[in-house]
Structure formats: C-alpha cells, structure tokens
C-alpha cells in the first residue's frame, strides 16, 4: 500500500516537473518573441503591442489585401514575432489607401476596425538622424517633406540662418501628432542608408512628466483667456505641474 502511494507521489512529481520545465521553456520562447514586437512596423490600425500580439491569428489576409505588396508575414527566425504582419518602409512603404483594405481584411480585430481615417493611423514614427540628413548638413534636399502625404503637418521645414554669405539651412522636422509612420519619407530619402526612418515610438520617445511647469505655455491659459468681468469669485484654474516657488517640494 505504502509503496503504491510512494509510486503515485513520485509519478505525480515527475509529471509536474515535466510540465513545469516544458512550460518554462515554452513561456521563454513566447516572451522572447513578444519582446521582439517593438521592432515591427505594423499595418495601419494595429493595436498596441500586447493587444496585437494576443489577437493576431497569423492568417495573412491583410498581406493578401494590400494592393502594393507592402506587407509580409514574419518568417521563423526573424526578429519579429513569428507569422505576424509587418513592413519594411525602405523596401515598400504603406501608401495609405483611403479604404484601408488590410484593416478590413483582418478577421480578429488585431487591426482595429475603429480606424476610420488613414491619417489617424500610427504605424510607427519617423525620426531623423540629423548627423546624416542632407538638409541638416546644409544641402537643399527636403525630399521627405515633399513626399510626405501629410506634408506641412507631419513634416515641416524650418529655416535656420547661417553665417553671412551662405544661404540658410532648410531643415525638416517630424511632428508626432500627425506622423502616421507610413514610411514614404524613408523610402524617398536619397542617402545611402535612410537618414529618416520609421521606428516604434516607444523606442525613441521620452516623456516630460507631470511636475515640470512650462510657465510660458500655462500663461496663455491663465492670463489671455482670463476675462475679469466674467470671472467668478476665486482665482482662475491653477496651472499644471508643481509650484516649487510658493509651495516648496511636496
């Protein structure tokens, strides 16, 4: 009796150990792949990485629906989660179809059908390597600015004056509030390796934080819109951030 119980306990322990070891290796593979999602430029409407990873059933219907052959499914052993759709803007960018056929082909909603205007897509974010950008060196290029489907919104050109007898610099700047990450700029960039590239925003973007007070921006809200005649009792809404001067550190 005790020997069969012992056998049973040992067998159970062996099965549990096998399941746990197998499960850990399996979980590790999944985690490695999920982490790689940060390097994928996804089709328009793609949800945030975790949600997209959960939903995508890897069927490739978006790939088939794309009229420009932009999209690919990641092979095994690529640095992108296996079987998920992505594109390489330098090869074929997203040409931002107004009817968004890839999104409409998605059966699982990994590409969110709530995207109505392709200009609201956030496939990635263009960033400029100003050390290798021709315009930032002083040449007249600005090809990205002219090619951008949302030109003067997603990419603007600023004039930077230079020393006397030389013409001003015309430098492109990307604005994240309008950039869709379509990658047409990256495709068009004439440098040997593109100096403007689309990446996932979380890889490059910072965040100011709540406690900084940009006084000159707050000033507009407090003073210019302030109408003394119609003001209610009490002071206007306090500006955001911390008031170190009057209140000290919290």
């Amino acid at each position: 009796m005790s020997s069969t119980r012992r056998d049973f306990l040992i067998k159970s322990a062996q099965a549990a150990a096998l399941a746990v070891t197998g499960g850990l290796v399996w979980a590790y593979l999944l985690k490695q792949q999920a982490n790689a999602a940060a390097y994928a430029i996804r089709p328009p409407g793609a949800r945030m990485a975790d949600d997209f990873n959960a939903r995508c059933i890897k069927c490739g219907q978006c790939v088939r629906a794309c009229p420009f052959d932009t999209l690919r499914l990641a092979h095994s052993a690529e640095t992108i989660p296996i079987g998920t759709p992505y594109f390489v803007p330098r090869d074929i960018p997203c040409y931002m179809c107004e009817d968004i056929p890839c999104m409409n082909a998605c059966p699982t909603g990994a590409l969110d059908p709530g995207l109505e205007d392709i200009a609201d897509a956030r496939m990635g974010q263009a960033v400029i390597d100003i050390e290798n950008c021709l315009s930032w060196q002083g040449l007249r290029c600005e090809i990205c600015h002219r090619e951008c489907p949302l030109t003067d919104k997603a990419i603007t050109v600023e004039h930077h004056p230079r020393r006397i007898s030389r013409h001003a610099m015309f430098v492109p700047l990307v604005h994240s509030d309008a950039c869709t990450g379509c990658g047409i700029c990256e495709k068009a960039c004439p440098t040997e390796v593109a100096a403007i590239r689309v990446v996932q925003p979380e890889l490059v973007r910072g965040r100011i934080g709540e406690h900084y007070r940009l006084g000159w921006k707050n000033a507009a809200g407090i003073t210019e819109d302030f109408d003394a005649g119609r003001a209610k009792a009490g002071s206007p809404a306090a500006p955001t951030g911390l008031d170190y001067l009057n209140e000290g550190e919290p």
Partner: protein
C-alpha cells in the same frame, strides 16, 4: 467474446488470412486509394490557398480562398477559423468579433461531421512529413528506443491553454510547426524547412509517430471533437479473424481495440484519424467508412452503450 488466438482459426471460427499486396497496378491503386485521396485534398487545399495569395485567384473579383489554415475566407464571404487558435486567443482575455467565432464554429462543425482528427490525416500539411518519416522508419527498420504515453498530447493541450492565459498570447500558435510550415509554403520559405527536418528526424529516429501521435495539441483537440464526430470507421464483428493487419498499418494502433470495436460496431476512439489505411489492408473487408447513427450495432452492444461511453 473469445480473445484467445487459435493458430489458424480466428475467433469467428474462420481461418486467419493475411493481407497480400496485389501485383497489378489497379489492385495496388485500390489499396493506396485513401492515401491518394488524402494527398489530393491536402495538396489541393494548399494550391487553393497559394493561388489566392500569390496569383490572385478569384471568382468575379472575390478572392477564392484568402488566408491560411489559421483563418480564412471563402469568396470574401464565408469565414473559417481554427477553433483551437480561437480558443487560445480568447483565453488571453481579448474579446473577438462574431465573424471569427462564426468561422471557428463552421470549422468545428465540419470536423464534427467529418470525424475530428480527419483534420490530421486529410488536411494538416505536417501529416505528409510524418507519413514520410513513418514510411522511412518502417523501411529502415528503426527500433523503438523508449516508450512515451500517447496521452502526453492532452497534457500539451492543457499546457498550451494555461500558457495562453499566463503569457497573453496564443501559446501553441506562436510555436506551431504546422502553422510555420503552412505559412511558409504560402508566403515564402524562411527557416520553415528546419521544422520539417526536425519532425522528420524526431519521428524517424527518436519516437515512432512522435509528433502527431504523442505531442501535437491540435491533434489532441480534434481527438476530443472526434469522440462525437459523425464519420467513423465501422467494424463488422462477424467477419474479423483478429489477423492484426489493421493495427500494423495504423499510426494510432491503440484505437483498434477490437473488443471495444465489437461492442460498439465501430472504431469509436477520437484518436482515429480516419486515414483509411486499415480499411484497404483488411483481407476480410471488416472495416469501412460509415456514419455513426447508421452503423449497425452487433448483438451485445447497443447505441445506448455508445452514447454512454461517449459521455464518460
């Protein structure tokens, strides 16, 4: 039921004859007919998917068979989806839309009618690799080196569901060699051939019927579907001499429990893949495809019994 094997007489009192491969080509094609049908279905589906993906096959502008075995759409109208994949995705906590649930229900219905693991023998592309490995293993006479329970696949099935909950991604879909091979046949070969080679070597040299018969959680899933599926291999008890030829060609020989088959008049186990090998090698024509409700239950067994066993 007499289970002892007299030297020359079967339990039905008739002499035991064994299967002999016919010499004529026509006879051989008859023996191989289910393998031929299966390859036609397997390759035909691949070609339909491939033609739609790569050559834009369509009918009046509607893509013929868009997608792949994970999820697809026929003529831009009828959705289909892998029910096991949909189950895993749902366990990650996301709420899928009705279209993909409908697709999963359609496929579940198809295999509920066609026999559960009919998927494995008739559709799954890995089946061709596994069959190739099994054939080579027989030819080379590779001996078994260890024994692993075929129920391991149900543990892998449970593990894939648990990991889907814990890791937030469809655990099996992210490593599935079936999906890797199938996708890369449709969208270009990457490292997919490594998967093919891996399964070939594993099945050939490590464990007989290793992947499909012991590990694959999708096969385990469809084995559960097969417990209630309509198309089964019917078993005609009086003609069987227990010669054992069926079990020798069967990739899942544990399903050919002849005592059980005599009771219920069919191969009831969901693990049967409906591949039809046993049907064509049986020298007594004991076995044939049949529909569950129409299968004659021999004396001593009733449909009540079948139903009862199904539930437990």
């Amino acid at each position: 039921m007499n289970d002892t094997h007299p030297p020359r007489l079967g339990p039905n009192g008739r002499p035991v004859r064994h299967f002999v491969m016919p010499r004529s080509l026509g006879g051989r094609l008859r023996v191989w007919r289910h393998i031929i049908y299966r390859r036609v279905v397997q390759v035909g589906l691949l070609v339909l998917f491939f033609g739609t993906a790569q050559w834009g096959w369509n009918v009046f502008g509607r893509p013929l068979l868009q997608g792949n075995l994970s999820a697809s759409e026929v003529l831009g109208a009828i959705p289909m989806a892998d029910p096991f994949a949909v189950l895993q995705i749902s366990l990650t906590g996301v709420v899928l839309n009705p279209e993909v649930w409908l697709g999963a229900a359609i496929i579940l219905g198809v295999y509920g009618l066609a026999g559960g693991r009919t998927w494995c023998a008739w559709v799954c592309p890995i089946n061709m690799v596994a069959d190739g490995a099994a054939w080579l293993r027989r030819r080379l006479g590779v001996a078994d080196i260890f024994h692993v329970s075929r129920n391991l696949r149900y543990s892998v099935l449970v593990l894939s569901l648990v990991l889907s909950v814990l890791m937030g991604v469809a655990a099996f879909e992210w490593i599935s060699p079936i999906a890797i091979l199938h996708r890369e046949l449709l969208y270009g070969i990457g490292m997919g051939w490594v998967v093919v080679l891996g399964i070939l070597l594993f099945d050939l040299l490590v464990l007989r019927n290793g992947w499909c018969g012991h590990l694959c959680p999708l096969g385990a899933f469809y084995a559960l579907v097969g417990r209630v599926a309509l198309v089964r291999v019917a078993f005609d008890t009086p003609s069987c001499t227990h010669c054992g030829d069926c079990a020798r060609v069967c990739p899942e020989p544990q399903v050919l429990n002849l005592r059980r088959a005599s009771e219920v008049g069919m191969i009831a186990s969901g693990e049967c893949t409906n591949c039809g090998r046993c049907i064509t090698v049986c020298p007594e024509d004991t076995l044939a495809f049949g529909l569950r409700p129409r299968i004659d239950v021999p004396a001593g067994g009733t449909n009540q019994q079948v139903h009862h066993r199904r539930v437990t």
